[in-house]
C-alpha cells in the first residue's frame, strides 16, 4: 500500500527580487512499512521535503498524498488532524514543551485531540517501557539528557499509533553512543510495529538503518 506518494513536487522561496527553487519536480512513492532515509548536502531541500510530507509547509507546485489523501486540498484543520493521527514527528532539537513533564509531553497529541488522558495510562506505560523511561515520567525536559529528550519525542510521536514517523535529523544533536541506541530503537519500531519511517540525515552510517535511501542534490533526486 502507498503510504506516501509525491507527484511533480516543487518548492521555491523568495530570495531578494526573485524566487529560488529548492525542490524541482520530485516524484516518488513510499510504501507501508518502509524505512526511507533522505540524504543530501546542505541546501539540497531534505528538511523542506520532510515538512512538505508532514503538511507543515505547502508546496509551490505538485502534490503530496498521505494515506491516499491529497494534502493540497486539505484544510488547515484536516492537516492538523492528519498530524495528530497519521503522522508522528521527531525533530533534531526534540521540540518538547519545556514546562510539561515527560508523561504530559507524551500525552500532548491526545489532549489536543480532546481525548481523556486517564484512559490511555496503559498505552502510556507501554510506550514508556519501549523507550525505557518509566522511572523518568515525572521529570521535565530540562532534567533530561539530549538522548532521553529525543526518546520522549519518539514516545510522543508513537502515542497516537501513527502509520508514519517523520524524523528530521533525529541524531543531529546527540553523541554517537546515544545516536546508535536511538537508531536501533527506530529500527525496532519499524520492524516490530510495521511503522513507515522517513528520516532526513547527513550520516551515511545512520542512513543505512533504512531499507531505502533517497539522495537529493540541488532539489532533484539523484
Amino acid at each position: 500500500m502507498d503510504v506516501i506518494r509525491v507527484k511533480e513536487l516543487y518548492k521555491s522561496f523568495p530570495m531578494g527580487n526573485s524566487d529560488t527553487d529548492i525542490l524541482k519536480g520530485l516524484d516518488f512513492v513510499i510504501t507501508e512499512g518502509e524505512f526511507v532515509s533522505i540524504m543530501g548536502p546542505s541546501g539540497s531541500g531534505k528538511s523542506t521535503l520532510l515538512y512538505l510530507l508532514g503538511g507543515l509547509d505547502t508546496p509551490t507546485k505538485g502534490e503530496v498524498f498521505v494515506m491516499g489523501k491529497p494534502l493540497n486540498t486539505m484544510k488547515e484543520n484536516e492537516k492538523s488532524l492528519m498530524r495528530k493521527r497519521d503522522v508522528g514527528f521527531v525533530f533534531q532539537f526534540y521540540n518538547l514543551v519545556p514546562n510539561l513533564t515527560v508523561e504530559d509531553n507524551i500525552l500532548l497529541p491526545l489532549i489536543l485531540d480532546g481525548k481523556n488522558p486517564k484512559k490511555y495510562q496503559e498505552k502510556l506505560d507501554e510506550i514508556l517501557a519501549i523507550i525505557a523511561m518509566q522511572d523518568r515520567r515525572k521529570h521535565t525536559p530540562r532534567q533530561l539528557s539530549g538522548g532521553q529528550q529525543q526518546r520522549v519525542a519518539i514516545a510522543r510521536a508513537l502515542m497516537f499509533d501513527p502509520s508514519i514517523l517523520l524524523l528530521d535529523e533525529p541524531t543531529g544533536n546527540l553523541d554517537s553512543k546515544n545516536s546508535v541506541e536511538l537508531m536501533k530503537l527506530f529500527k525496532s519500531i519499524n520492524q516490530q510495529f510495521n511503522k513507515t519511517i522517513v528520516q532526513v540525515t547527513h550520516s551515511e552510517e545512520f542512513a543505512a538503518y533504512g531499507n531505502r535511501i533517497i539522495h537529493l542534490k540541488d532539489g532533484v533526486i539523484v
Binding site: G54, L56, T58, S80, M82, K84, V97, N99, L100
Partner: protein, 823 residues
C-alpha cells in the same frame, strides 16, 4: 484539561518579572476603574450617613406656607409622613468656652427618649438645662452640673449639663468647635415668646419614594409644604468632576497598560515560537493554539484583577477614611464594600487582558508551522503605508473636528482624543521609516554605530512600538502638567477678578428678621463699606427634572463683585435681563450643555418643592466658578418664590481686612456663620486644587514608570528577534561594548523620535484636551507649558534609557554559537 491548566500555570510562573508586569498593569487599571466607579458611592455613603444620622433617619422637612418662620402644628396631618419631630433650632456660641459654634435643639421630652444616656437622665431635663454628647464632654472636659453660657433671644443664659449621651442621631457629627445641644422646649419657647410654635419640623416618609410622600403630604395641606432634606443628585453632582478626573486617568493608564500587555504578549509569542510550533507539529489547530494563549491572557487578567480589587479596596478605604468628617476623633463610619463592584472590576480585568492579548495572539495566523519550529520570523507584508494613510485620515478628521467643529467638538472630544492618539500611533512608523531611510546614508560615514542603531529602529517593529509606548506616557505627562497649570491659572484668575475683602458663608438664617438684623449689622458697621455688600443666595434644585445649582444674585452688585465671568453679548450684558419682575434665568455653558438648553427656552425650575417657569435669557462661560455648572436668577425670586435663605455676603472693609476680620468673625459666630478674608479663601481653594493636581501628577508619574516597564519588554523582544544579527556582528569582531552602545543608542533614538512626534502633535492634543475638559465641566483652556513639562519629559527620557540596563546585562550572555546554530 488538568495538563493544559498545568501548562498555562507553569508558563505564567516561568518568568516572574513578566508575570509581575502583567499583574501590575492589569491591577492598576482595575484599581483605577474601581476607584472611578466607587468614589461616588463612597461620597454618597459618607454624606448619607452623616446627614441621615443627624436627621434621625428622617427624610422630610416641613415648613410653613405662610412664610412665617415659627408656626403651630395644630392643623398638620400625618399623611405621607409619620414620626414628626418638632423643634426650635437656634444657632449660638459658647461664651465661657472658646467660642464654639453650637446649635440648640429645643424639644419636648417625648421626642428625645431615644438617646442613650452615659451620665444623667431625662428626669431633671427642664428649665435652663442641657444635654450634650459624650464626645463633646470629653473634648471640653465637661461633667454633669457644669454650666455652658449661650445666648438665647439676645440674652446670655447659663445652661446646666444634666445629661451626657452617646454620639448618635443629632450628636453624630459633633466636633470640638461645632456641635449640637438639646434644651427643654418649654424653657426656650417661653424665653422667645413662641409657645406652641416651632421653626424646625422633620418627619419620616411613609411611602417608599420620598417625592411621592412629599406630593401626598403637600396635596393634603395648604398651610404646610414638605421638602426633601437630603437629595442624592446634589452629592452626585458634587463628585462628578472628581469621578471624571479618575476616568480620564483610567483612560491613559489603560492605554499604556494595553500597549504594555500587547508588547509582553508579543514577547511571549516570540519566546514560545518553538513551543507553539511543537504544539502544531503534534496536531494542534490554530484555533486551539489561540484559545490556549488567550486562556493564559485570561488567567493574567484573573490574577491582575484580584490584586487590582485589593488595591482598589485599599484606595477606596483611603478615600472613605479621608472623607470621614470625624476622623480627627477616631470616628470612621463602617466601610461597606459592594461585591457587585468587585465582580465588575474582575470582569473588566479579564476582558481587558484578553483584549490586549488578542492582537499578538491573532498573529499566529501569519505563521507557517515550519517557521515556528525553526524560530524564523514570518515574512510580513509591508503594511506601514496603509496604516499611514488610515492614520492620516484620522488625524485630518480630528484636526477638522477640533478647529471647525464648534460645540460638537466639545461633545465628541473623548472620541476625538482616542482617534487622534490612534492616528498618531498609525502614522509614526512610516514617518520614522522614511526619515531613517533619508538620514542613514548621511550619518553613516560619520557616526557608524548611531546610524546602525537608527537603521535598527527602521527594521524592528518592537523598537518602533517603544516609540508608541513612550509617546503615550509622555503625552499623559504633558497633559497632566498642562491641565494642572491650567487649573492653577484659572483659580488665580478667579481670585484676582473677585472683588471683596471679606466673605461670610453658611449662615443658618431661619427667619426674615434675622436676615434683616444681619444686613443692618453689616450696613451700619464702621468697618464695612455699606455700598459694597453683595448677597448671593444659594440653592440646590431641579431644572426640567435634572439637578441644578442655583445662585440668586443682585445683578448690579454681582457685576461689581465678579468680573471673572463675562456676561456681555453684542448688545449689552445678560445681567440686565435679570429683573425682579421677570422670570429670567442665565445658565453657564456647562449647565446648558448638560441640560441641552438654548437661549429662549422655557424651563421648569423647582426649589424646595416649589415649581416656577423661567426663560433662559443668557448662556455664559462660568469657567470654574462653582464648578462651572450653575444657573443665575434674581435674588428676589430666590427669596420670594422659593423661600430660600442660604446666603453668602461679600463686602469691602474700611480698614485692612486682616485687622477687621476678627471683630466681624466674632459676631457671625453667634449665627453660625463662617467668616473668611479674600486671602484666606484663595489659600484654601488653591490647596484644594493642589490635591487634585497632586493626584494627577501621581498618575502621570505612574504612567511613565509603567511605560518604562513596557519599554524594557519591547527592547527584549527586539533583542531576541535580532539575536542572530548581534551574533553575526560579534562573530565578525564587534565588541560587547560596541553592541551595548548600539542598544543604548537605540533607546536614546526612540526617546528622541517620541519627543519629536510629541512636539508635532502637542498643539492638536492640547486643543482636544481643552475641549475634553470643557465637556466634563472644567472650563479651562489648556496650553502646553513647555518649561514645566520639560523637566518631567527629561526625567521620563532618562528612565527609558536606564531601562536599557537589564538588556545590556542580557546581551553579555549572548552565545554566538547558540544564536547561529540554525545557520
Amino acid at each position: 484539561m488538568k495538563i493544559i491548566l498545568k501548562y498555562i500555570g507553569t508558563s505564567m510562573w516561568e518568568k516572574k518579572l513578566r508575570l509581575l508586569l502583567f499583574v501590575v498593569s492589569i491591577a492598576f487599571s482595575t484599581a483605577l476603574l474601581m476607584v472611578s466607579m466607587g468614589i461616588v458611592r463612597i461620597q454618597l455613603d459618607t454624606i448619607r450617613r452623616s446627614v441621615t444620622d443627624v436627621l434621625e433617619e428622617h427624610e422630610i422637612m416641613i415648613a410653613s406656607n405662610t412664610g412665617a418662620d415659627f408656626f403651630a402644628l395644630d392643623t398638620l396631618e400625618q399623611v405621607g409622613i409619620d414620626r414628626v419631630i418638632p423643634s426650635i433650632v437656634l444657632p449660638s456660641v459658647l461664651r465661657n468656652q472658646d467660642f464654639e459654634s453650637v446649635m440648640l435643639y429645643a424639644r419636648d421630652i417625648d421626642v428625645i427618649s431615644q438617646y442613650r444616656f452615659v451620665e444623667g437622665s431625662l428626669e431633671t431635663f427642664m428649665g435652663a438645662h442641657t444635654i450634650i454628647s459624650q464626645r463633646v464632654a470629653v473634648y471640653l472636659g465637661l461633667a454633669l452640673g457644669d454650666i455652658l453660657e449661650v445666648t438665647i433671644a439676645g440674652a446670655p443664659i447659663g445652661l446646666t449639663v444634666v445629661g451626657i449621651v452617646e454620639n448618635a442621631g443629632l450628636f453624630y457629627q459633633d466636633q470640638r468647635q461645632q456641635f449640637n445641644m438639646l434644651v427643654p422646649y418649654g424653657y426656650v419657647s417661653e424665653a422667645l415668646g413662641v409657645e406652641g410654635l416651632y421653626n424646625h419640623v422633620t418627619a419620616r416618609q411613609t411611602l417608599d419614594d420620598t417625592a411621592a410622600s412629599m406630593a401626598l403630604f403637600n396635596a393634603h395641606h395648604e398651610d404646610f409644604r414638605a421638602f426633601a432634606i437630603y437629595q442624592e443628585d446634589i452629592v452626585i453632582a458634587s463628585v462628578r468632576n472628581q469621578q471624571m478626573t479618575f476616568f480620564i486617568m483610567l483612560a491613559f493608564i489603560m492605554l499604556v497598560a494595553t500597549v504594555i500587555l500587547f508588547g509582553a504578549f508579543k514577547l511571549i509569542m516570540t519566546e514560545r515560537q518553538k513551543v507553539i510550533g511543537t504544539f502544531f507539529s503534534q496536531g494542534a489547530t490554530k484555533r486551539q493554539m489561540k484559545l490556549l494563549l488567550l486562556s493564559e491572557g485570561l488567567m493574567y487578567g484573573l490574577l491582575g484583577g484580584l490584586v487590582g480589587i485589593l488595591l482598589g479596596l485599599g484606595a477606596l478605604y483611603a478615600l472613605h477614611y479621608s472623607a470621614a468628617p470625624l476622623r480627627a476623633y477616631g470616628v470612621i463610619p463602617r466601610f461597606v464594600f459592594e461585591w457587585e463592584l468587585g465582580f465588575i472590576a474582575l470582569g473588566f480585568a479579564m476582558l481587558f487582558s484578553v483584549f490586549a492579548c488578542y492582537v499578538p495572539v491573532r498573529s499566529i495566523n501569519r505563521y507557517e508551522v515550519k517557521e515556528l519550529i525553526l524560530e524564523q520570523s514570518p515574512t510580513l507584508p509591508n503594511v506601514k503605508k496603509k496604516k499611514f494613510v488610515v492614520g492620516m485620515i484620522f488625524l485630518i478628521s480630528c484636526f477638522g473636528m477640533v478647529y471647525f467643529g464648534g460645540d460638537l467638538a466639545v461633545t465628541l472630544s473623548p472620541l476625538t482624543l482616542v482617534l487622534a492618539l490612534c492616528g498618531l500611533i498609525l502614522v509614526y512608523p512610516f514617518i520614522v521609516s522614511r526619515l531613517v531611510k533619508t538620514l542613514f546614508p548621511v550619518f553613516f560615514p560619520y557616526v557608524r554605530f548611531t546610524a546602525l542603531s537608527m537603521n535598527n529602529i527602521r527594521y524592528s517593529s518592537s523598537l518602533r512600538n517603544n516609540i508608541a509606548i513612550m509617546m503615550i506616557a509622555l503625552i499623559s505627562v504633558i497633559t497632566v502638567v498642562s491641565l494642572g497649570k491650567g487649573i492653577e491659572r484659572i483659580v488665580i484668575e478667579a481670585y484676582t477678578t473677585l472683588h471683596f475683602d471679606i466673605r461670610v458663608d453658611q449662615i443658618k438664617i431661619n427667619d426674615r428678621d434675622t436676615r434683616a438684623t444681619i444686613f443692618a449689622y453689616l450696613e451700619t458697621h464702621p468697618l464695612v463699606q455699606a455700598d459694597s455688600i453683595s448677597e448671593i443666595t444659594y440653592a440646590h434644585g431641579h431644572i426640567n427634572g435634572e439637578y441644578a445649582q442655583l445662585e440668586g444674585i443682585e445683578p448690579v452688585k454681582f457685576a461689581e463683585l465678579l468680573t471673572y465671568i463675562d456676561f456681555s453679548y453684542k448688545a449689552g450684558s445678560y445681567l440686565e435681563y435679570l429683573h425682579p419682575e421677570r422670570h429670567h434665568i442665565i445658565a453657564s455653558k456647562t449647565a446648558a450643555n448638560r441640560l441641552h438648553l438654548a437661549i429662549g427656552d422655557f424651563v421648569d425650575l423647582e426649589i424646595n418643592s416649589v415649581v416656577s417657569t423661567f426663560k433662559v435669557v443668557g448662556i455664559v462661560d462660568a469657567k470654574l466658578w462653582n464648578g462651572g455648572d450653575t444657573f443665575f436668577i434674581h435674588n428676589d425670586h430666590m427669596k420670594e418664590i422659593f423661600h430660600n435663605h442660604n446666603s453668602i455676603y461679600f463686602f469691602h472693609t474700611t480698614i485692612a481686612p486682616s485687622e477687621a476680620v476678627d471683630e466681624i468673625r466674632s459676631y457671625f459666630r453667634d449665627v453660625g456663620g463662617i467668616t473668611q478674608t479674600h486671602q484666606e479663601m484663595e489659600r484654601m481653594n488653591t490647596e484644594q486644587n493642589q490635591q487634585l493636581i497632586s493626584m494627577l501628577n501621581f498618575f502621570s508619574l505612574f504612567a511613565v514608570i509603567m511605560a518604562s516597564f513596557g519599554a524594557i519588554n519591547n527592547m527584549f523582544i527586539s533583542f531576541l528577534q535580532r539575536k542572530k544579527d548581534f551574533a553575526v556582528m560579534a562573530s565578525v569582531g564587534a565588541t560587547r561594548g560596541q553592541i551595548g552602545r548600539m542598544l543604548v543608542m537605540e533607546s536614546v533614538l526612540c526617546v528622541g523620535f517620541a519627543l519629536v512626534a510629541l512636539l508635532l502633535y502637542v498643539s492638536l492634543h492640547m486643543r482636544i484636551v481643552s475641549q475634553l475638559a470643557h465637556s466634563i465641566g472644567f472650563s479651562v483652556d489648556i496650553q502646553f507649558v513647555f518649561l514645566d513639562s520639560a523637566l518631567l519629559l527629561m526625567l521620563s527620557g532618562v528612565i527609558y534609557v536606564l531601562a536599557t540596563i537589564p538588556l545590556l546585562m542580557q546581551s553579555k550572555k549572548i552565545s554566538i554559537i547558540q544564536a547561529l546554530k540554525y545557520e
